[in-house]
């Protein structure tokens, strides 16, 4: 695809100040980048790097912001150069728009109104270019790893044929293998297309040797420095400057000068000859014997289907006082699940997990059960602290100071409701932590408004506040700059020096070296667990069945006709006809009787409740069967109740059958193309729908985090309600964050303006006629049968 030459970038006195901010994100930027130049863009956190990339991608527009100067792509203002620049952001989840990889790559081309005949050729070549050509176009994007998702995003960008690739920390959330794959795919694509490249990255060594130019931005200012990228390795002064900004400079240890007695070997990039860590000698705290762990509870059935098998089995771990242990292993090996189980947040699927007296403590501590999962969260916080990968999952209070106090306030003496710490002790702990974390000036700030590094420090601080012996962390260094990395190591080292114990799941070799951690490498046993894809919540699509292959709108019309027939009358006969007809149609949907039972039992129960409600609350008629004093059940109301219950069940059955055989993407295609609903809204809803599984996962994690903070959904109604509301608020925060990033992704791929084409036509075929006719026939039969049987009972009469 050589016909898209690189774009020349010009910034002339460009400034941007976000609404509600007191200082500009970037001011007076003058910059020239030639066509095809590869630029590494660096600067401290908050130097406006992302703002610049968003500006170049043409997605910065806010009527309340203050802007000056110009950003030009080949002389055209960036906002008007739709499709010339493609933007990749850090979080892989918000870089994917649609559920099937072919559709996702086609999305940008559709938005730019590329003719349908041309789109699929572009899609094939783009997938080939990023090394995802081996997957079919129908492959679910939810089943890709983080690195693969980023490459998919790159393919989506390439399908626009852009002249400028903008990469905003594209590899910060990836494991080392993913980092290399994404970088190589970017470099290959740049070579193939001749596109200009601008990369923002904290870890310079990934890109340094492949780039032409280094541009350093000053905070709230313009370009502070511009040098050949090769100087990063050779120029000592430059290296010092970059280090001071919190960047990872090749060949420099961010821990240099930190007083860690044991880190003598950690000066260079290359690892020391190999583990110097002797078997630890401290007292045993926690012992896992033949432990089996899984994400879903082993006792409650995941709504549709058998009990989920454990992710990982036969784990043997001994955690001893004063040690640092790193759990490593491939993606999907079950590291995080193991960590949550060790933290007492997930129940074990098998084997034993035993906390010793050393962890439980003397006196009242002896009352505690062996397995931490059986402890109250008030006992957990004072013994095992869990730091989540996403700090925001842990935040439940309105200010930094309250957030720090919470854990200490919640800690109780085992077996009692007595607080573990006095108010004076709590205050002392909070004050000490505010100083230690460098957050004193921010004590009254809202935790969600902190910078990434501050949030990371606070998330560790909130856990330390309750004084747990054992500290567990999930990928604590993901996406962090070198300053935060250094702070984190120093905090954890303090914890260990004070006799504490640290266990972390990590991909980060520098982290393991920095703490001289013993490494526990997990082998991948069973197939990797995926994020519960939307399909799993939908009970699994049966897209292969006869009904599954029919046009979505035809199916919707059929259900609509049947539902309409049921709505107009309340009687048992019409409901019975629909239920029988639906059962007869089951083979067409590929649903078996057992499967149906699993799908339908909650609704059968609902029908019984509806029947009961009406029997009690409808007008009395005929003989009174039961007199409850304040109300009665009469012959008439019971008959009406039964009819309503049967009707409720009959209304649900066809819609469950149809929706379990209809892919949301097909439905959206039909709604926008055939029913002509506004495409922006249909596609917006569809893209959001893809996040359903991910949001459900956030919900679960937020629940774990609340238990870990000592405010889980347990105990009285008030506590449960508070916890659920806080969980719901946490979910809304995550939802809006995700949505904001997704909106940038979609807009940077040309979404939302002008005419678009559709890569996959949605239209009726001959085979869809029987679907609509079938629906009409069932509806008509239901009405006729009711009239003939004399049970017809028109609702609006």
């Amino acid at each position: 695809m050589g016909e898209a030459p690189g774009v020349a970038v010009t910034a002339e006195g460009w400034s941007w100040q976000h609404a509600e901010r007191e200082t500009p994100a970037i001011a007076g930027l003058d910059l020239q980048i030639s066509a095809g130049e590869k630029v590494l863009l660096a600067g401290a956190s908050g130097a406006g790097k992302s703002t610049l990339l968003h500006g170049l991608a043409g997605v910065l527009h806010d009527e309340d912001a203050q802007a000056a100067g110009q950003l030009l792509l080949d002389g055209v203002p960036a906002e008007q150069a739709r499709g010339r620049a493609g933007l990749m952001q850090q979080d892989p989840e918000s870089q994917v728009v649609l559920s099937r990889i072919g559709d996702d790559v086609a999305f940008a081309a559709e938005n730019l109104a590329v003719p349908r005949a041309e789109i699929w050729g572009r899609v094939d070549r783009a997938l080939e270019a990023v090394g995802l050509g081996g997957f079919g176009l129908e492959h679910p994007s939810a089943k890709l790893s983080g690195g693969q998702k980023q490459r998919l995003a790159l393919a989506g960008i390439l399908a626009m044929r852009p002249g400028l690739l903008l990469l905003d920390e594209p590899t910060a959330n990836l494991d080392p293998a993913g980092v290399r794959q994404v970088r190589d795919a970017v470099l290959r694509s740049a070579e193939l297309t001749g596109a200009t490249v601008i990369v923002v990255e904290h870890r310079l060594e990934i890109w340094a040797e492949h780039m032409d130019t280094l541009v350093v931005l000053g905070t709230g200012a313009g370009v502070r420095r511009r040098s050949p990228a090769a100087q990063i390795r050779t120029d000592e002064a430059l290296g010092d400057e970059l280090s001071s900004m919190g960047l990872w400079v090749p060949g420099r240890d961010p821990l240099r000068g930190l007083s860690i007695p044991r880190s003598a070997g950690a000066d260079r990039e290359d690892p020391p000859p190999e583990p110097l860590c002797p078997e630890p000698q401290g007292e045993l705290l926690l012992h896992a014997g033949g432990l089996a762990v899984g994400r879903h509870s082993p006792t409650t059935r995941w709504r549709r289907g058998a009990i989920a098998p454990p992710t990982l089995t036969g784990v043997e771990v001994e955690i001893r006082r004063g040690e640092t242990l790193g759990i490593t292993g491939a993606n999907g090996a079950g590291k995080s699940t193991l960590l949550l189980t060790l933290a007492g947040l997930l129940p074990a699927h098998g084997g034993t997990l035993t906390a010793t007296a050393g962890l439980k403590g003397d006196g009242p501590g002896e009352l505690l059960a062996a397995d931490p999962h059986d402890w109250r969260s008030a006992d957990l916080v004072a013994r095992i602290g869990m730091v989540f990968q996403e700090p925001e999952h842990q935040f439940v209070r309105g200010s930094v100071a309250e957030e720090l106090a919470l854990g200490a306030e919640q800690a109780k003496v085992p077996g009692t409701a007595e607080p573990l710490y006095t108010p004076a002790e709590i205050d002392a702990r909070v004050q000490r932590l505010l100083d230690r974390l460098g957050l004193r000036a921010l004590a009254q700030a809202n935790p969600f408004t902190l910078s990434g590094g501050e949030k990371r420090r606070l998330s560790v601080g909130t856990v330390l506040a309750a004084g747990p012996e054992l500290l567990l962390l999930d990928e604590p260094t993901f996406g962090q700059d070198a300053h935060t990395f250094r702070e984190l190591i120093s905090l954890l080292q303090d914890h260990v020096d004070a006799g504490g114990t640290v266990l972390a799941v990590t991909h980060d070799a520098a982290f393991l070296r920095g703490l001289q951690a013993r490494e526990l490498k997990l082998q991948r046993g069973t197939p990797p667990p995926e994020a519960p894809a939307a399909g799993e919540l939908f009970g699994g699509m049966r897209a292969d069945s006869w009904l599954g292959r029919r046009n979505a709108l035809a199916k919707l019309i059929a259900v609509f006709l049947i539902t309409a027939a049921l709505v107009v009358t309340i009687d048992v006969v019409s409901a019975g006809v629909v239920v029988l007809a639906s059962l007869a149609a089951l083979p067409l949907a590929g649903i078996r009787a057992a499967g149906l039972l699993r799908l339908m039992w909650p609704f059968a129960l609902g029908a019984v409740v509806a029947a009961w409600g009406t029997a009690l609350a409808a007008e009395e008629s005929g003989a009174v069967l039961v007199d409850l004093g304040f109300t009665t059940i009469s012959e008439g109301s019971l008959a009406l109740g039964l009819a309503l219950g049967a009707r409720a069940f009959a209304i649900v059955l066809p819609s469950v059958i149809i929706f379990s055989t209809t892919d949301p993407t097909d439905l959206a295609d039909s709604l926008a193309q055939q029913l002509r609903l506004p495409a922006r809204f249909v596609l917006g809803a569809l893209a959001a729908m893809r996040l359903l599984g991910l949001l459900a996962e956030h919900w679960t994690t937020l629940g774990h985090a609340r238990r870990a903070r000592g405010v889980g959904a347990h105990g009285g109604v008030r506590q449960r309600l508070r916890s659920t509301l806080s969980q719901a608020f946490g979910l809304l925060v995550q939802a809006i964050r995700m949505a904001t990033r997704l909106a940038v992704t979609m807009e940077s791929r040309g979404f939302g303006a002008g005419r678009r084409t559709w890569a996959r036509p949605a239209r009726f075929h001959a085979a869809d006629v029987p679907v609509i006719l079938g629906g009409a026939l069932i509806g008509a039969a239901a009405v006729c049968a009711a009239v003939a049987a004399g049970t017809w009972n028109f609702v609006w009469s």
Binding site: F448, T449, W699, L725
Partner: protein, 209 residues
Amino acid sequence: MSSRKTTTRSWSWTVSDIVVASVLAVASGVIFWGWNLSYHLIGNLFVFYPPVETLVHGMWLFPAVLGALVIRKPGAAIYCEMVAAAVSALLGSQWGLTVLSSGFMQGLGAELVFLAVLYRRFSLEFATLAGAASGLTGGITYHWIVPMYAYAPLETIIHISCFALSGAVIAGVLPWLATRGLAASSVLGPLASRRAHREPMLLGGTPRG
């Protein structure tokens, strides 16, 4: 000062508005689902007098008011409630396809309140009113428009009143608090509601900070 800005703000939806509204609606679907899992027993409380069951049904209405408060554009209440309804239809809803009509009508109730003030007022009393209106139109739909109940007159009135009351609290006050919380967390950057936490609580009150 901020009110002048609000009035000049365009009524057309940006990409951010569309995507945030959609994701909020889907997240609401997840909250329904989480609520269902944890509180499936709560319905049993009403087994002896079913007309008051709607006291907790305000839960199903909160996407409408939340969407309107966060997005502040015409149609936000209806759109969010409809998408949330569509999500629950896809997940398998008690009411089958009829959730779309009830979703539309519930959204309409809240929408009319904000339309009446031309999308310029988003203080607590309007949020509460919108939640109650949503319960009212929802109740009317259940009994007269797409009837799913056949209660005696007194029970019908109790059923609808409890729905409106529940809507006012669960779908009015709570979304208003949530919106302020979200604004204070500075996640509403690209949206018209980003200053919600600095606005007066009631119409005519003084703005904070």
